[in-house]
Symmetry: C2
Subunit: 344 residues, 2 copies
């Protein structure tokens, strides 16, 4: 576990998308966020107190979260400089970048000298096994998407909280860097060696016997030509009894692939269900989450209602309208025979 | 390229499956195989002259191929000992094991001192990019399977040779360790970081403009709960105009998963075509390859004929009966609009 409270790093970033990891941590773990660190040229803010490294450490911050994404996940000189300053001030450092903190000799030496820790959250667990698809007990929900970055993580966390608010045992299972920093654990499935994708998810959400839910964050899309392999392995490893499909209406093309349209929502859901049946024969759809943050609220409400009618499933924007209709449906579901199986 | 001729390693193995890489190299590159190395307790042979390390080097062998698979792809002390002896005798060493030769300090030091090379063929290329699915010129065929280890590599190599025998330009594109050692190049797609599966295959079989074929080795199966993510990424990256499906009749369960039956051949083919259409909308099936090595030849012939009638596609055992019926079909195919496209 990464020791809280946190100082969230914005650095010199002027691109709101580049700070999405820091923003996610601020949104979902506000109680653990003491402040933000930004240089003078950074025009962005998360609305937290702006603190220097020593100032933050003196106020009790235990870890600097390097929650930004540079080009190609690189760890540039300015980030190394600031991470070193955090260590010198007495804080641990956590990062979800592709380049690892521990591979920087200066940071490794500083951390060792001060008995502080470097957390590279994209590191896969060392003891991964290949998946088996054998039935395992426990109730599992997986979010899937028409595309990357359509709001799967926000939907997943909100669904896990919604279940808990209604008295169910439920845990968010993170599969990407931001989710891992929010949850304090998880597997960055995009960084796992290809043979171990489904096995990593079986390990992330093992059998459980408390009638509670593992609410698993999806990645990518079966319809994304770059990442569908990750999405399929995740789908098989999750062995979910319920899928929730996520979409961002109005997106002009698949992320990063100009010219490629998004799949139809109903077809995308059907293909996900079909593929999921390999390891979860009774899987069903529990709802639809739309990211309508770019829409007028009234239009967003109308779109949710129309989508609900068209697909026959509860449809909501989890941030704008909450997830109650989906939680209602989940709580009414008869547990699948799989979810209460003890056969291994 | 790994310098030939080769000395093929059998070591102390008594398990025919454990030497499948050495056997594959002997089967498909006999002209490059000078001999086999085995200890006295090894009861297996590939029918090649048995040579010691110095003897092989003196006869002109330039590389020892460590073509065996121990438990978990491990590089045990006995293999290290023998690899060191090969280096001392003046040969390079090549291995497809998960554990890397270069991570063994003794081997690394010996190779450097003698200006010899260590080839870890499972290493992914350093410069992988994520896939895009953009149309690229060239004709591509991919083998897919009902399961792992049903004969996809043998079928793929035989198809590439069959095309060349009929005057077509055709290249075998290897995606596993044995295929890479046979081809002298390729990408071990099971060892690639998950985000790069389809991108690695786009790089392995880039656009070509000579009207020739890239004949791409498939891996795993869309129906294998351990490895389907690899198979799907490979399918999307291959952007094939023709699929050939491979099966081993009579297999009791999916490899490594007791209790899980193999998919129906026709359904498996249909699902592969459906998934392949994401990046190759005009993809079609070109034939069926059955591995009937465990069957009586007359029964094998009858099964091929019956399967051909049932699925309406040429069906053969590539090793027992050759691949002429599939080559006939491929040579009659109108190139898809994609295969002659120059749009990027």
């Amino acid at each position: 576990m990464i020791p809280a409270p946190y100082l969230l790093y914005l650095g010199r970033s002027a691109d709101p998308l580049a700070i999405k990891t820091s923003r996610g941590v601020a949104a979902f773990r506000p109680e653990d966020c003491l402040g933000e660190f930004r240089h003078d040229e950074c025009p962005l803010t998360l609305g937290l107190p702006r603190l220097g490294m020593r100032e933050a450490a003196a106020a009790g911050a235990r870890t600097l979260i390097l929650g930004i994404a540079g080009a190609g996940g690189r760890l540039g000189d300015d980030l190394i400089e600031d991470a070193a300053a955090a260590l010198e001030a007495g804080m641990n450092v956590a990062s979800g970048l592709h380049q690892r903190l521990r591979d920087q000799p200066r940071l490794a030496a500083l951390a060792e000298a001060r008995s502080l820790s470097l957390f590279d959250v994209r590191d896969p667990p060392a003891d991964l096994k290949v998946g088996t698809g054998y039935p395992r007990s426990g109730r599992r929900l997986l979010t899937v998407g028409t595309d990357c970055s359509v709001g799967k993580m926000y939907a997943t966390i909100t669904l896990a909280r919604g279940l808990r608010d209604r008295g169910a045992a439920a845990d968010f299972r993170a599969t990407g860097q931001t989710g891992i920093l929010i949850a304090g654990g998880g597997v960055a499935v995009d960084a796992v060696v290809a043979d171990f994708i489904s096995g990593a998810i079986e390990q992330l959400a093992p059998a459980r016997y408390d009638h509670g839910w593992d609410v698993i964050e999806g990645q990518g899309s079966l319809f994304h030509p770059s990442f569908a392999g990750v999405s399929l392995g995740l789908l098989h490893g999750a062995q979910a009894e319920a899928l929730v499909i996520c979409d961002e209406p109005g997106r002009p093309h698949m992320r990063g692939i100009p010219g490629r349209p998004l799949p139809d929502l109903a077809e995308c859901l059907e293909r996900n269900l079909e593929a999921a049946r390999l390891t979860s024969p009774e899987v069903g759809a529990a709802g639809i989450c739309l990211n309508t943050s770019a829409m007028d609220p009234a239009a967003a409400r109308r779109l949710c209602d129309a989508t609900e009618d068209r697909l026959g499933l509860p449809c909501t924007d989890p941030i704008a309208f909450g997830v109650e209709p989906i939680i209602d449906k989940l709580l009414c579901l008869e547990p699948s025979s799989l979810s209460t199986s003890v056969f291994r």
